[in-house]
């Protein structure tokens, strides 16, 4: 999802902020100086112990859907500093956008209905923003199937942790789903391979090992999966018999 941008200099060019209103642009360039210049930007004592790890989430496309308050500004600024490509959106659109890696969105009563995907099949990481007033609605947060919650007031640390954890969780969920799909597919392939092997043993009078080698060689030569070769053998055998 995240686009890898190879830039030779650590200049502002790696950062794209698509302002939703005009006065953002000026602030952006001011921030660029801050980012390029020496000395730590907003927030205190930044540990430089593992700079690589700090960069894991740079270049992410992030949407921030929140009212333009000081907290929102702090969040935008922190995301910029972390080298994210940030887009500010307000008010909450009827359907959240799906082209971003991560979305920070104000928690509203009807947020679950504004999420365009089916729970369990997210199209982006989602952090809901709790404005920090009134009772916290845990059921609502559950129903958003979010990957994290950011509470106002925003600190650099909380924004950073939310970004990192939510993105991690989103990717982890995606990997797990991918693994399950793969397992399902493998299960089917294994049955096909077993059957194809049995056919080869019977028809070509070879050992189990030779049958398997044959399948593997065919798969390598044709650059297809061994399951595909197995299925082809089974199908053609059926056609011939």
């Amino acid at each position: 999802m995240s686009r890898i941008q190879l830039k030779s200099s650590p200049s502002i060019t790696g950062i794209r902020w698509e302002p939703a209103d005009e006065n953002v642009t000026t602030r952006c360039s001011a921030m660029a100086n801050e980012l390029n210049g020496a000395g730590p930007p907003a927030g205190r004592s930044r540990s430089r112990k593992s700079p690589d790890h700090g960069r894991r989430h740079s270049n992410l496309d992030v949407a921030v859907i929140a009212d333009r308050t000081d907290d929102c500004e702090r969040l935008l600024r922190e995301l910029q500093r972390l080298r994210c490509n940030v887009r500010h959106i307000w008010p909450v659109p009827p359907q959240l956008p799906t082209q971003h890696d991560l979305i920070f969105c104000m928690l509203t009563e009807d947020l679950p209905q504004r999420i365009p995907w089916i729970p369990g099949e997210p199209k982006a990481g989602l952090v809901v923003i709790d404005p920090g007033e009134g009772e916290l609605d845990l059921k609502l947060i559950h129903n958003c199937a979010a990957h994290g919650v950011l509470h106002y007031p925003v600190t650099a640390r909380s924004a950073q942790a939310c970004l990192a954890l939510a993105h991690d969780h989103y990717l982890y969920e995606k990997r797990l789903r991918g693994r399950i799909d793969k397992l399902d597919e493998n299960l089917r392939s294994m049955r096909a391979v077993e059957r194809a092997k049995a056919l080869l043993i019977r028809m070509k009078d070879v050992t189990e090992e030779e049958a398997y080698n044959y399948l593997r060689r065919q798969a390598m030569e044709r650059r297809v999966t061994i399951g595909a070769v197995a299925n082809a053998i089974i199908d053609s055998h059926e056609l011939l018999s």
Partner: protein, 379 residues
């Protein structure tokens, strides 16, 4: 969700299509669900609280099942859903119940090879219908099979399994045709003409929904003889037979855990109650029966847990038994699938099935066919 000192209803979701090409069978599943709920409520509910169904009609559109499942869980605050016929609709609901931790009760036979901690499967898996059907067909009619199916997950997967069974029993598949889900009548004539030329011993159908009627009627219209080349199916129940006409259905075979004609007191009483409500000429069928008994299993479990929280419900339902109209059934704790009876019926002129095979006991669910060797040996 705890229920101390409250008469608040237990709210559950119900997702069956009353419109669209799947409505013939899903309407009966809805009825089975509602009959069970009414009976439970008439007897005072569960721990003094009635069950309140929240019902949506997904209109035979798979995507709508996912959207309504989300609506049920998010807006209606429901954690238990009874529903789904097609595998595509089940697969649409799956991510929702898995992510939001709900429990889907799925009362339909399917192709197996699935497991989810958030689904209780109460319809048959291939080891509970296909294996015996293949055996019986070969004994009675011959070894040359012709496949006709609707074009979606269940028919293709069922045919894959059926093909393995047939091949390993020395039979062959001499034709395989798919029609679109919701296919029209005209789609079946060319297939029948092909069948007349190829002359198979058996036609194995995985056509579902309204198109089932068109398939069997096309068969009758072209003048094929069910005594020689019957259509065998895992899905054609009393509901579909009535739709196509008793004369059209006569002589064709179906494998299912339940037929209306199952002879036991529990079933006689069930059929009586159902017909009292919906009319004396309304048949019951396997999907209706599974819909009915699964609500009862749910109720028995809820009585113990007094909580609808999915994890608690699920832990408690495992291994539980129920005297269903088909006979004693249980929820297999390994797979969360029901252990069911295997039966093969031949449709008669009254739109009922004469039972030609019945398993001596219920058959353990084996959705991944682990007990059937590497290649589903025919023994």
């Amino acid at each position: 969700m705890q229920s101390n000192n409250t008469s608040e209803p237990w709210r559950v979701g119900v997702l069956f299509s009353r419109t669209g090409f799947m409505s013939v069978i899903e309407e009966t599943q809805l009825r089975g669900t509602l009959v069970a709920i009414d009976e439970i409520n008439d007897n005072g509910g569960i721990n003094g609280r009635p069950i309140e169904p929240i019902i949506y009609d997904p209109g035979s559109d798979s995507r709508s099942y996912g959207i309504y499942a989300k609506k049920l869980m998010v807006e209606d605050g429901v954690s238990t859903i009874f529903g789904c016929y097609t595998s595509s609709s089940r697969k649409a609901v799956l991510p929702v119940v898995e992510r939001l931790d709900g429990l889907l009760w799925y009362p339909t036979l399917y192709e197996g090879f699935e497991f989810s901690a958030n689904v209780i499967y109460t319809g048959a898996t291939p080891n509970q219908n296909s294996v015996q059907l293949c055996r019986t067909l070969m004994e009675l009619y011959g070894t040359r099979f012709y496949f006709v199916g609707s074009d979606y997950i269940y028919p293709r997967e069922s045919n894959r399994i059926m093909r393995e069974l047939i091949r390993n029993s020395g039979g062959s598949v001499v034709g395989e045709k798919y029609v679109a889900l919701g296919a029209q009548r005209s789609a079946f004539m060319p297939i029948m003409q092909d069948i007349r030329q190829v002359r198979p011993d058996v036609i194995f159908s995985t056509v579902v929904g309204e198109a089932t009627t068109f398939l069997y009627q096309a068969y009758a219209d072209i003048g094929l003889d069910p005594k020689v080349t019957p259509i065998a199916s895992l899905t054609t129940s009393e509901a579909e037979i009535r739709d196509m006409g008793y004369d059209v259905g006569e002589g064709h075979l179906t494998a299912a855990p339940y037929f209306q004609g199952v002879g036991n007191d529990s079933n006689a009483s069930f059929v009586g109650r159902y017909q009292k409500r919906y009319g004396g000429d309304e048949p019951t069928n396997m999907c209706l029966e599974a819909s009915y008994f699964q609500v009862n299993v749910f109720a028995k479990t809820l009585e113990k847990t007094n909580s609808m929280e999915s994890t608690i419900m699920r832990d408690s339902v495992m291994g539980s038994e129920f005297d269903a109209p088909q006979g004693g059934v249980s929820i297999n704790p390994i797979w969360g699938h029901a252990d069911l009876w295997t039966r093969i019926g031949r449709a008669n002129r009254q739109g009922q099935f004469d039972i030609v095979y019945e398993s001596p006991t219920s058959v353990k669910a084996d959705p991944y066919l682990l007990g059937y060797g590497r290649c589903l040996e025919y023994s």
